[in-house]
C-alpha cells in the first residue's frame, strides 16, 4: 500500500514537467510570427496615421478578410482557384503518369523520347500564359491548360523513375504468368508504385497551387490571385494583405494535409522509400 503511494509520487513530477515542456513546444512555433506581426502592426498603424496608402496593419487585413468571407467573395474565389488547380493537376497527373509508366516499362521508348523531353521540359510554365490566352481566352480552360502543363513534367519524371525501381522479380513473375502489357501495368506496376505515386502527387499539388495563383495574378481575371491584384489596384492594402495571408494559410493547410496523406499511404502500403 505505502509502496504503491511512493511509486505514484515518484512518477508524478516528470510527468508534469513533460506536460509543461509539451505546452511550451506547442507554443514555440507561434512566438516568432506573433512578434513579427505585432511589430508590423505597430509600424503600419503609425504609417497609416501619417497618411500612407500602401500599408495596412494585420488587424485591418483580418477585418477585410472577414468582410470578404461574409459577402461570399472569399469562398467563391478560393473555390475557383482550388477547383481549377485540382482539375489541372488531375489532367497533368493522368497524362504524366501514363507516359511515365510507358517510358518506365520500356527502356527503348525512354531512350528514344529523351531528347524531346529534355527540349520541352525546361520551358517555364508561365511562358505559356500568353499562348493559353490566345487559344482559350480568359477563364477556366486557360488556367487548366497551364496547370496541367506544369504538373505533367514532375509527374512524368517521378513516375518513370518509380516504375524503373519496381522490384525486377515482380516483372519476372508477370512474364512467367504471361500477362499482357496492359495487365502488367494495371496489376503489377501500378500497385507497386502507389507510395511513390503519392510522393509525386504531393509535389504536384504544391506546383498546381503555385501555378494557379500565378496565372491569376498575371492574366486570368478569376480566383484568389486576381482578387489580390484587384485589391492592390483599387488601393485597398488591407484587403490585399488579407488575401496574401489567406493564400498562405490555404497553401500551408493543403500541403500539410498532403504530407499527412502521403505518410499514411506509405505506412499502409509498407513502402520502401
Amino acid at each position: 500500500m505505502t509502496e504503491h503511494v511512493v511509486v505514484v509520487r515518484a512518477a508524478a513530477p516528470p510527468e508534469a514537467r513533460r506536460r509543461t515542456r509539451g505546452g511550451l513546444a506547442l507554443l514555440r512555433p507561434w512566438v516568432v510570427p506573433g512578434v513579427l506581426l505585432g511589430l508590423y502592426e505597430a509600424y503600419a498603424r503609425r504609417a497609416v496615421a501619417l497618411g500612407s496608402e500602401a500599408l495596412a496593419p494585420p488587424s485591418a487585413a483580418l477585418k477585410a478578410l472577414a468582410a470578404a468571407a461574409t459577402d461570399g467573395s472569399l469562398w467563391q474565389a478560393t473555390g475557383f482557384t482550388l477547383g481549377t488547380a485540382a482539375l489541372g493537376l488531375l489532367l497533368g497527373a493522368v497524362l504524366g503518369a501514363s507516359l511515365g509508366i510507358t517510358l518506365g516499362l520500356s527502356r527503348r521508348a525512354a531512350r528514344l523520347s529523351m531528347l524531346s523531353i529534355e527540349v520541352l521540359r525546361p520551358v517555364p510554365s508561365v511562358a505559356l500564359i500568353p499562348l493559353a490566352m490566345l487559344m482559350f481566352g480568359f477563364g477556366l480552360r486557360m488556367e487548366l491548360g497551364i496547370v496541367a502543363f506544369a504538373t505533367f513534367w514532375p509527374m512524368l519524371i517521378l513516375v518513370q523513375s518509380a516504375v524503373q525501381q519496381v522490384e525486377p522479380r515482380l516483372l519476372e513473375v508477370s512474364r512467367v504468368l504471361g500477362l499482357s502489357t496492359r495487365e502488367r501495368a494495371w496489376k503489377i506496376v501500378l500497385p507497386a508504385i502507389v507510395p511513390r505515386l503519392f510522393v509525386a502527387l504531393r509535389l504536384g499539388v504544391a506546383v498546381a497551387l503555385v501555378v494557379a495563383v500565378t496565372v491569376e495574378i498575371a492574366a486570368n481575371p478569376n480566383g484568389m490571385g486576381y482578387a489580390m491584384m484587384i485589391a492592390q489596384q483599387s488601393f485597398d492594402p488591407a484587403l490585399m494583405l488579407g488575401w496574401l495571408g489567406w493564400i498562405g494559410v490555404v497553401g500551408f493547410v493543403i500541403n500539410g494535409a498532403m504530407l499527412r496523406l502521403q505518410r499514411v499511404v506509405a505506412r499502409r502500403m509498407g513502402a520502401v522509400l
Binding site: L112, V119, I129, L209, I217, L241
Partner: protein
C-alpha cells in the same frame, strides 16, 4: 573489352539518332498541323515562321531589328542577378539560423509556413510598397528565389554529423570556423540542389514580373505579341525562354558535378 566499348558507342549513336528522329518527327507533326490548317494559324504558326521571327529578332542575318536579343539579355540579367542575391542571402541567413539548434527550433516553423506561398503572390504587395520599377521586380525575384536556398542551408546545417560537431568542440573551433570548415561543406549538396530550384523560380518570377510591371524583357514581349495576335513572335519568345531554362539548368548540373566531386567515392 575493346569490342564491348565499340558496341556500347554504337548503341549510344543509335540512341542518339533515334531520339533525334523522334524530335524531328514532332517538329514535322507541328509543321503538318500548322501548314495544313488542322489547328488555327492564329495560335499555331508554322515552324518556318517561328524561325524567321527568331532570326529577325536575334538579328542573325544582319537585317533584323535585334529586339528579341535585347529582351533576352534583359530577362537573363534580371534572372541571374536575382538568383545571385537569393543565393547569397539564402546561404547567409540559412547559416545563421542553421548553426544554432535553439534558433532553428524557434524560427523553422515560420519558415515552413512561408515556403508554400507562391513567390509571385508577393508582387502586388511589392508594387504597392515600391511602385512599378525594375528594382521592385528584382526584389521579388530575389525574395521568392531565396526560400529554397535558405531552407536547404538550414537543413544541411541541421544534418551535420554529431560527432563532427564534437570534434569541432574538442578542437576549440570558433563558431565562424565551424561554419566555414564543417557546416558549409556539409550543407553544400543541399545548397546546390536548392540553388537549382531557385534558378527555376527566378526565371518564372522574372517573367511574371515583366508581364505585370511592364518591364522590358521576354515576359512583356510574349504578352504583347499575344495581344497583337503575332503568333510567330510569341513562339519565338517561348522558344527563347525554353532555351534559357535549358542552358541554365545544364550549366548548374555541370557545376554541381564539378563541385561535389570530393563526395564521390
Amino acid at each position: 573489352m575493346n569490342r564491348s566499348s565499340i558496341e556500347r558507342s554504337r548503341e549510344r549513336l543509335v540512341d542518339w539518332l533515334g531520339s533525334t528522329a523522334v524530335l524531328a518527327a514532332l517538329v514535322a507533326l507541328w509543321w503538318a498541323a500548322s501548314s495544313a490548317g488542322w489547328v488555327s494559324r492564329v495560335f499555331l504558326p508554322t515552324p518556318q515562321a517561328t524561325l524567321a521571327s527568331l532570326a529577325e529578332g536575334l538579328n542573325l542575318s544582319g537585317s533584323g531589328n535585334g529586339e528579341l536579343l535585347a529582351f533576352t539579355l534583359a530577362t537573363v540579367s534580371r534572372m541571374l542577378l536575382g538568383w545571385l542575391l537569393a543565393s547569397l542571402f539564402g546561404v547567409l541567413l540559412g547559416a545563421a539560423i542553421g548553426v544554432s539548434p535553439a534558433v532553428r527550433a524557434w524560427v523553422q516553423p515560420t519558415l515552413e509556413f512561408i515556403r508554400p506561398l507562391p513567390a509571385s503572390a508577393l508582387l502586388p504587395l511589392a508594387i504597392s510598397i515600391f511602385g512599378l520599377n525594375p528594382a521592385m521586380v528584382l526584389f521579388v525575384v530575389a525574395f521568392g528565389a531565396m526560400w529554397p536556398v535558405l531552407l536547404a542551408t538550414v537543413h544541411g546545417f541541421a544534418a551535420v554529423e554529431p560527432r563532427l560537431a564534437e570534434v569541432a568542440r574538442c578542437l576549440q573551433m570558433s563558431r565562424a570556423a565551424f561554419v566555414w570548415k564543417i557546416g558549409l561543406p556539409n550543407a553544400m549538396p543541399d545548397i546546390l540542389a536548392g540553388m537549382r530550384l531557385s534558378m527555376t523560380i527566378s526565371l518564372i518570377v522574372a517573367v511574371v514580373g515583366e508581364m505585370i510591371a511592364s518591364q522590358s524583357g521576354l515576359g512583356q514581349a510574349i504578352l504583347l505579341a499575344a495581344r497583337a495576335f503575332r503568333a510567330s513572335e510569341l513562339f519565338a519568345g517561348i522558344a527563347l525562354l525554353g532555351l534559357i531554362g535549358f542552358t541554365s539548368n545544364a550549366l548548374l548540373t555541370l557545376a554541381e558535378k564539378k563541385l561535389l566531386r570530393w563526395q564521390q567515392p
